[in-house]
Symmetry: C2
Subunit: 371 residues, 2 copies
């Protein structure tokens, strides 16, 4: 997720004249009172409430001033030479570098390709920047680079510019990768969280939670036997197929850090709507459900790297779902809920027992360094 | 410098059919035999010969396949929706975060803005991605973000998308920043190393070596008293003024990592020309010269963050130099040499004593983590 694009709209509302010259940490209120513990904690990188606080209270005041008017989205859409260009950046710090189903190299391509796809853009170009730790084995780096190159070829994006920095041993963790993507948004396509409307149907493209569980299963000190593989995959082909139906897709998001819970909450807040989810309708593979059950994790809050959430008008839902199910990356797609006027901006799940529970925006991350 | 853009041209020459499936480290020959010491060392991040080896022998074979045809340049120039778009990425890992004359925040903006300017592009948009170390003080991060925002306002670029990741204490160093820039290349502008031609004049925009010496002066364990401040500055205004003369500027480069020595060598190799430099003509401020003398460093190999090298036809040199000197970031601009047919692809300096010396491409970096 591109957290700054999520919030640059707010910048335009800031009057540069009135803006204070420095960030006022004392006035910062947040569920975990940061003013009392004024240092970065792992939760600030979790993609949940603490990440949002950091953007809202630290980065945006600092970056005040002219900013492009984009809204809660995975990528910024900017005007450039007459074209509508999608632009998104992500750093990848996943640990370990290799995990069942993938590695940091393909993750870095797919994550950024997917952020472009979530605004309906056709991914075109990628920039890659490596921060390498002194002492990293060249053979391991080569495996990462091979995976990155292969993923780019699969996704049909061109790696056109890059950078390499090296930091001393003890100031990195093997390989960190930043990828920045450029894509073209076709004429007439307007996909963003703010377009979600009461009555719309919420679709998910498949079984959730695989990526987070796969990474966790090989985390040092936490190894457990499981057949769960990361779902890392490029979703631009699936999105192209969905767009080709002619349906007026309102919103697309990929539920990465913070999982489905964070994504649905961000959409609800971005559009000031409620979202009602039928818990039983959300596809979760049995091994993922089992692992979450044993570890006390909520599959709704676990990261995915090859899934998307789509918000579509009710009239279009069936044909979009049909096309999704016909695509290799959408075989297990399902309608999981509806957008409501009630309960805005909350996400409420109907449980299997007929009750209901509020699905909160996760505070930090249950699983740090998952992407 | 965007090392991948430097070399993607080579990718097009690789026959994907013939390409080996894995990087062959055993066949890798390089001045420092990496096959015998197959790990990343600090020199791989220095922007010199070792960085180039890593790109040529590891990244490019891995990234083989369709790549945009750009050539040795600070930014890739790609076609996007009918526009010529400049695209460049850089990570910043400078240590310490704050140094005389600047900090990692303004450096991250100016470095990327300058890479866009070096292909003649007007910088438009920036993406910023932070990798934060657990335990970093929010107040320190706020100072960095303030400096980044201020530098973007000065350079006239919009911060439109971003990302924040957090890594555990001991796996980072406070704040690492990646910035990726997007710019528009005006019609008719074709600025790249390959256009340097024998007879062209080599200009430099001011006194060299200040950034590296400024950072070094406050490096832990190395503090020494000096008045040298980093020259970090956005050069897009200077380049716009130079372009406005109507001169046919052949090549622009900003001599960052590896300094003037690396930049001139890369131009000589990129265009397969020789470059003759008059050592005495290269402006070096006295405190920089003194510091280099005491520390045994060569000012030609020290990083700059607010200087450029321009290669222009002899007929245009005087008026370009005049315009540079009239600009705040080019006051001390000077003609320092010529492009030659002889000695290709070497850089030869005429020394103050009337002799000559070859200026080599630095192997690694005399000063690691300078940007």
């Amino acid at each position: 997720m591109s957290d700054l694009a999520d919030a640059v709209d707010a910048v335009d509302a800031v009057d540069a004249e009135d803006a204070v010259d420095a960030v006022d940490l004392a006035a910062w209120t947040c569920p975990a009172p940061l003013a009392d513990s004024p240092t970065i904690v792992m939760g600030h990188g979790g993609g949940g409430a603490m990440s949002a606080e950091l953007v809202e209270h630290l980065f945006l005041p600092a970056f005040r001033g002219p900013a492009a008017a984009t809204e809660l989205a995975d990528a910024a859409v900017v005007a450039l030479g007459g074209a509508r260009v999608a632009f998104t950046t992500d750093s990848f710090v996943v640990r370990p570098l290799f995990f069942p189903g993938g590695c940091i190299g393909d993750l870095a391509v797919n994550g950024t390709v997917n952020d472009l796809a979530m605004v309906g853009a056709t991914p075109c170009y990628l920039a890659t920047a490596f921060i390498l730790e002194e002492g990293t084995e060249l053979a391991e780096l080569a495996r990462v680079a091979e995976a990155l190159g292969a993923a780019a070829r699969v996704a049909g994006v061109r790696l056109v510019t890059g950078d390499t920095k090296v930091v001393d041993a003890g100031h990195g963790d093997g390989v960190y990768i930043n990828t920045t993507g450029l894509g073209l948004v076709p004429d007439g396509v307007d996909i963003r969280p703010g377009r979600a409307r009461p009555g719309d149907v919420v679709l998910v493209s498949g079984e959730i939670g695989a990526h987070g569980v796969a990474v966790l299963s090989c985390r040092e000190g936490l190894e457990f036997g499981t057949q769960v593989r990361s779902d890392t995959a490029p979703l631009s082909g699936l999105v192209a197929a969905m767009l080709a139906t002619g349906a007026d897709i309102h919103t697309l998001r990929d539920p990465t850090r913070g999982g489905l819970a964070a994504t649905l909450n961000e959409i609800a807040r971005g559009a000031q709507v409620g979202i009602a989810v039928t818990e039983r309708a959300v596809p979760v593979a049995a091994p993922v459900a089992d692992a979450c059950s044993v570890l006390g994790l909520d599959p709704f809050a676990i990261a995915n790297e090859g899934k998307l959430v789509a918000i579509v008008p009710a009239a279009d839902a069936d044909r979009v779902l049909e096309v999704m199910r016909a695509h290799p990356h959408g075989r297990d797609a399902a309608a999981i809920g509806t957008v409501t006027e009630d309960n805005a901006p909350m996400v409420v799940a109907r449980t299997g027992l007929g009750g209901s529970r509020v699905i909160d925006l996760p505070m930090g991350s249950e699983l740090p360094r998952i992407c």
